[in-house]
């Protein structure tokens, strides 16, 4: 088994599952019905992406794992998602800014991943890229609307930047399995998409009249290695409870 390919695939799956789970927490709580539906739809897209990646990862393990066992029976230390995805939603500004940061990252990541030498990863990325395009457009509009909005909405967006900025560095910091993926030709060079990401963020922030945090800011990391904030444990406790308590339970 190619463990780098497995870890690379799991990281893609875990990111999608965890941010999808966070977004799903808004279901029934969105500020207005249309936006409640929008973020629930985005959550649904993520669960779909996660399923595709987990199904592929399960096949790679060759040990009888399934998409369900990978999602429900691994511990926090096995999860490779970036810390940004597991942070609590906060208010609507924080949720939409996180979505904007992450969708911009995914937009360029999947754009490149479509050229992966691994055909399954390329196919999943090709499919998901179209959906991410909508997520990016939707979240960009919210960043602009709130940033260039009222004193209250702008204040909340500024607060959200303070809360989230130091979690964006990890997106572009490759772990050893990502480096191996690049060497083997199926992974994406993160440094390249970092430049595209910065450019897109700068464009949208300018329109939103929001400042890009200046200076050399210390960045959080290690989610990709399985070292997480305390928040992931709470997510997994809720998500995995049923399968842990009643193994193999089905609807």
């Amino acid at each position: 088994m190619n463990s780098s390919l497995l870890n690379y695939t799991l990281q893609l799956a875990d990111n999608a599952l965890i941010i999808g789970h966070r977004n799903s927490e808004w279901c029934g709580h969105g500020p207005i019905l249309e936006q409640d539906i929008a973020i629930s739809n985005i959550a649904l897209d993520y669960i779909g992406q996660a399923r595709n990646f987990y199904q592929y990862a399960a096949k790679l393990t060759g040990n009888g794992a399934t998409e369900d066992s990978l999602a429900y029976l691994r511990d926090a230390i096995d999860y490779k998602n970036c810390l940004l995805t597991e942070l609590p939603n906060g208010d609507w500004a924080q949720t939409t800014l996180r979505q904007f940061f992450f969708s911009t990252y995914q937009y360029f990541l999947y754009q490149q991943l479509q050229q992966s030498t691994d055909q399954q990863l390329a196919a999943i990325a090709e499919k998901a890229f179209k959906e991410v395009t909508y997520h990016l457009r939707w979240s960009s509009e919210w960043v602009i609307r709130l940033g260039d909005g009222t004193e209250e909405s702008r204040g909340r967006m500024l607060h959200a930047i303070d809360e989230l900025w130091s979690f964006t560095g990890e997106l572009f910091e490759g772990d050893s399995y990502e480096q191996q993926a690049v060497n083997d030709g199926y992974g994406v060079v993160l440094q390249d998409i970092r430049n595209s990401w910065m450019k897109k963020v700068a464009t949208v922030f300018e329109e939103a009249t929001l400042p890009i945090p200046a200076g050399n800011i210390w960045m959080q990391s290690c989610g990709k290695k399985g070292i997480h904030t305390e928040h992931l444990g709470f997510i997994l406790a809720e998500m995995q409870f049923l399968q842990r308590a009643y193994p193999g339970a089905e609807w």
């Binding site: 649904l44 779909g48 399923r51 196919a123 090709e126 179209k130 395009t133 990016l136 939707w138």
Partner: protein, 182 residues
């Protein structure tokens, strides 16, 4: 229910069987937009009839592609395709998911687009018009399926299902779904 006898199929060619299978699938509806069949939607990509030595005679391989990655209707469509084929006497059926090339609304048949409009859902426009991430770009001009006015506005990019956006007509005031380009 009577299950047709497949022995009649022994004399047929693979091409004839495939044609029959396409016709059967044309009656399998999308559970979320029931006026569309899985063929109208462009979800069925290929049908192959393979001759076998077994009593079944033919093995049917249907390749399909999901509309949206997270489309919850996909599992139902898959099950309904299998059931429809079983009802028609095809028991040896293989449903294979293909992700690439990714589904696009350009694959929706013209007949499908007409059915959508008659159902009150604006059919998808051509995708090169809109599928870019730039915010606040000019909105697509989507004609109202009720009065055909282009004087409409986007209410939300995400509608009642993953594949739709919500619009409203400024002239006749009708709120309507738009099957968005993809």
């Amino acid at each position: 229910m009577e299950i047709p006898d497949q022995h009649n199929n022994r004399q047929k060619t693979a091409a004839q069987i495939e044609k029959e299978v396409w016709a059967i699938l044309e009656n399998v509806a999308d559970p979320e937009v029931p006026v569309l069949s899985v063929v109208d939607l462009g979800v069925v990509r290929n049908v192959q009839a393979l001759a076998t030595q077994s009593e079944e005679n033919w093995k049917i391989v249907v390749s399909y592609t999901p509309t949206y990655t997270g489309c919850p209707a996909m599992d139902t469509m898959k099950m309904n395709m299998r059931l429809a084929l079983i009802q028609a006497g095809y028991k040896n059926v293989d449903l294979t998911q293909v992700l690439s090339p990714a589904w696009t609304t350009d694959w929706m048949t013209e007949a499908g687009k007409d059915k959508l409009k008659a159902y009150g859902i604006a059919p998808p426009q051509y995708k090169q018009l809109v599928c870019t991430p730039d915010s606040f770009q000019q909105e697509e001009a989507i004609p109202c399926p009720r009065c055909n006015s282009y004087h409409t506005r986007l209410v939300s990019q995400f509608g009642s299902t993953a594949c739709k956006a919500l619009y409203q007509c400024n002239d006749c005031k009708e709120p309507f779904d738009y099957f968005k380009c993809h």
